[in-house]
Amino acid sequence: MKDTINLGQPVIAAQGLNLVFQTNDGPVHALKDVDLTIGKGEFVSFIGPSGCGKTTFLRCIAALEHPTGGSLTVNGMTPDEARRKRAYGYVFQAAGLYPWRTIAGNIKLPLEIMGFPRAEQEARVERVLDLVDLKGFGKKFPWQLSGGMQQRASIARALAFDADILLMDEPFGALDEIVRDRLNEELLKLWARTGKTIGFVTHSIPEAVYLSTKIVVMSPRPGRITDVIDSPLPRERPLDIRDTPEFIAIAHRVREGLRAGHSYD
């Protein structure tokens, strides 16, 4: 397998997407004329200054927000239809665990809703708890966990079932370098194994470059895409790929894009 892997039809296609929030002190143009095509099996990172519309764009894809203009299709359907087909696994920016459920109970939630058999539920909970290094914390309540542990629980929850499209909003923001590296690797493995399409918001340039087949750089007020970088890195990525010149070159381009976005306002 190699770089540009736009196998088949686009999974996500946005054209001239606009979203304006009406607020008490005037409209906020959160997304402006966003064009983007994501192919099946791609790993797309979104990077951009705080408030540039990354979350909003992810929410549009997941049909949690309704664009005020332009078109957006997911697997050729409207996002809402795709949502009804349970196409998404979504990791929110805040952990958003239900306080009245234990960690295991929280992870079980989507499984219960999707009607997995009970034994299978247990097995999956065990597996993902292990994956995010929370073995033994299943019976705790969310408020008994540290911030980073909560975030990992929320990642586990999204990985517990097999959605075709995984949308992750800064999933590793509250984790230390070492856990982060480990989870990055796990995520890549999962991606390689399952061929999921992944949308991933991050603030870490190395992380974006390390993980993605495509990096989308955004800039704020109004939120729009300023650069789309197709990564020439191979699909197989050991951690030390981060020291290669290609890697550093892409990282540089991303940083420049980001800086440009900042200088804008």
């Binding site: 997941a62 049909a63 306080p99 809703i113 999707m114 408020w143």
Partner: protein, 288 residues
């Protein structure tokens, strides 16, 4: 001890205030009687005694009420018509049935209102209007109608009781079921959870604090409803009948005893709900 001491202190404070008030409020009658008899008003000591031994005091002294309560509870067989336990049970049974119906109806309506736009717009205004109708005005008509349909005894009372208790439950639960925040709802949307799942896995658990507040108010309302429902049935038995006959014969002490009996029943119900609340919240990891 830790739990009892504060209650005792508060109760003691109330009792002291109460005795003071009893002296102040019952004084007028003693003075009037003295004036009518043409004698000098009694000295302070005698006055205090006189204010606490009246048969029809404006405010009976605590010990008078307690004595009457004791007479009503322990002084007779609990099957006797003079036993407060007997009357309390009659009222309690109607209350419990009414509370069960009211709570079920209230929750069902709230669920409907939250899940269905048409119900959202049409039910609440009428639920509100229904509550502004003075029950005591329509209860007789209602009982007559039920009677002619052959429904008698516990059920009509329970229905009036349910009618009063469903409303706090509706109001509280509508708010409670809407309490989950946007992100919690969004999460379920990404799973394409159906209405039942949203209800069972998010809205209901999130509404628990509201539910218990509503249940406490609802239980109290159910008791009031049961008592009010006893009146137009000829007030034959139950705490309401006791209250009314006490009032009819001007037996203030009997009224107070029945009032206390009702209050004890209510406090008992509320305490039970409070207990269930604590256990539930603890199991939900919410009691911190």
């Amino acid at each position: 001890m830790n739990r009892v001491l504060p209650i005792l202190t508060v109760v003691a404070a109330i009792v002291v205030l109460w005795y003071g008030a009893a002296v102040a409020m019952n004084r007028a009658w003693v003075l009037d009687q003295a004036a009518r008899a043409g004698t000098e008003p009694p000295a302070f000591g005698q006055m205090v005694v006189a204010t606490m031994t009246q048969e029809r005091p404006v405010l009976p002294a605590p010990h008078q009420v307690v004595a009457e309560l004791w007479k009503g509870v322990a002084g007779q067989a609990i099957t006797s018509k003079r036993s407060l336990v007997y009357h309390g049970w009659i009222t309690l049974s109607a209350t419990l049935l009414g509370f069960a119906i009211g709570t079920a109806a209230g929750i069902a309506l709230a669920v409907g209102i939250v899940h269905n736009r048409a119900m959202d717009m049409s039910v609440l205004p009428w639920a509100i209007a229904s509550q502004t109708i003075p029950i005591l005005a329509i209860a007789p008509m209602f009982i007559v109608v039920m009677n002619s349909m052959g429904v008698q005894g516990l059920v009509p009372k329970a229905i009036i009781s349910a009618y009063l208790s469903f409303f706090p439950v509706v109001v509280g639960m509508v708010k409670g079921l809407r309490a989950p925040d946007a992100m919690q709802l969004d999460l379920l949307r990404t799973y394409n959870a159906g209405g039942a799942a949203v209800l069972g896995k998010l809205r209901l658990p999130a509404s628990m604090p509201y539910l218990f507040a509503s249940l406490k108010v609802g239980a109290a309302a159910a008791l009031v409803g049961a008592i009010v429902g006893e009146l137009p049935t000829g007030a034959v038995a139950g705490l309401g009948a006791r209250l009314l006959s006490g009032s009819y014969y001007g037996q203030t002490i009997q009224i107070w005893a029945a009032l206390f009996a009702a209050a004890i029943v209510a406090a008992g119900l509320v305490a039970v709900i409070g207990l269930v609340e604590r256990v539930t919240l603890r199991r939900m990891g919410m009691a911190r």
